[in-house]
Amino acid sequence: MNCNDHQFQGLDPATQMALSRRTFIKGSAGGIGLAALGSIIGTPAFAANPGLGFPNFKPKAKRIIYLFQSGAPSQLDLFDPKPEMEKMRAKDLPESIRKGQRLTTMTSGQKSFPVAPSIFKFKQYGQSGAWFSELMPHMSTKADAWCVVRAMHTEAINHDPAITFMQTGSQLAGRPSIGAWSAYGLGSENADLPAYVVMTSFGSGRPEDQPLYDRLWGAGFLPSKLQGVKLRNKGERVLYLKDPDGIPREVRREQLDELAALNNQRHDVLGDPEIQTRISQYEMAFRMQTSVPDLLDLSKEPQHVLDLYGPDVKRPGSYASNCLLARRLCERDVRFVQLFHMGWDHHVGLPNAIKGQCNDTDQATAGLLTDLKQRGLLDDTLIVWGGEFGRTIYSQGTLTETNYGRDHHPRCFTVLMAGAGVNQGTTFGETDDFSYNIVKDGVHVHDLNATILHLMGVDHKRLTYRYQGRDFRLTDIHGDVVKQLLA
């Protein structure tokens, strides 16, 4: 049996091997094939992809916690101070800065583009002197842990394409997400939990916005067992963990064994890799019936640890409680943990709304860093904090002394990194006086993703997957590892 047979295309090498062996046994000894089932079912969900050769070099980060701030936080009110803008207050954004660049239709019809200086006070913190606004009283205490990437830029100008671009390297839906790519290349360290776990939370800044789609953590054309598994933020985190009344554990095991046997028989006929995904996901669900209650049991978390994350940690589904769970997932060696905190889209009423967002996230984010550090996990865990684009210096809608809004701005925004292998206590990149264009050291989304993969020991140019006749990458045909962000 040749592994390159068309029916095996699109499978990872480990599955191809298991498959061809299985087909061989069945073909040569008719019926004994069933005995080989154990060799597929007994394998941890995707323990390794030995044929792929990842990591390419020794990784700095064994795992990542990606704190996605969905809706696009204002770099102008948090990380990128422009005090001289007070002199420009309410004056029209000069054409020499705007340069006729694309605006969203939410402000392109405005008669003027009045400059709205941030009303929040900035200070430098720590040895590094990194700038933070007063909205981040906790994250600023970690100034020397953060690498502030101040000249990020993206190609998308609206939320969904922009988040899709950050996640998959393409604005169009359908490519694998960065977590799925990581799980594909690096496999899982814990057979009892998914390699890619996602948690979402609603923000108090804009409680109804913005919607997220499950495809943002999807596997695209990679085997779908690699997609992110989302823990719910309302009610039970994972539904149906308990077996139904009257189905003892042994019966559940029998059912799954028989399901796998029947599904495998069908797979022999069709060769559809998605059948293997279903089998492995049923098995994962069975193991999660034990591993998830243990993960979610916070009863042994001491008060001083809960206090790190702030009072919101007690509210299930909050960003703070998601941060605590992220730490617990890290302790269990889950490869890729991604949080999405919604509500950063402040077109109007920004000052009030952003206070709510920072109240949701500031203490918990800093607490997570402290907690990880105390446990020695920050040395091999990468932290990323950021949204999908930035916000405009000019006010959307009416500008007053105390109120303004900001529209989407893809040409510059700030992302923070911390933890494993990161050049801590540095600020990289510069924007112009209006935080409108990049002056120095721009970092494109593909560069950031290449750098993240690099920290995880993966050469982004070698992490490819052939689909419909073309080798695809997370970074498409772009991306440079940004050496200045590395320790």
Binding site: G31, L34, P244, D245, G246, I247, P248, E250, V251, E254, Q255, E258, L259, A261, L262, N263, Q265, R266, L270, D272, E274, I275, R278, I279, Y282
Partner: protein
């Protein structure tokens, strides 16, 4: 359970009605062995069947043996969760 014939014949009938094709001998063998195991399990522990049958909106029929009904329920559950059943290719 009310179909005529032995358990193998009943399983074949059930498979055909759920999956819309005839089961192979291999498939029937897996199901049959499993059913026999569960018939024994639910006959041995009489506390299980009442718990299982209390679930759901329709009341359990009174003219069928409840231990056997539970064993059949746990077996047909497998058919309803087959990749082939839940996915239209």
């Amino acid at each position: 359970m009310r179909q005529s014939g032995d358990n193998a014949a009943k399983l074949a009938w059930t498979f055909r009605h759920v999956v819309r094709r005839d089961a192979t001998a291999e498939e029937l063998s897996v199901l049959h062995k499993g059913l026999e195991k569960r018939l024994a399990t639910y006959a041995t522990d009489k506390t299980l069947a009442p718990k299982l049958l209390a679930t759901g909106l329709s009341p359990a029929p009174t003219d069928l043996d409840h231990d056997q009904l539970a064993a059949w329920t746990a077996t047909t559950n497998i058919l309803l969760n087959l990749d082939e059943t839940v996915t239209r290719e």
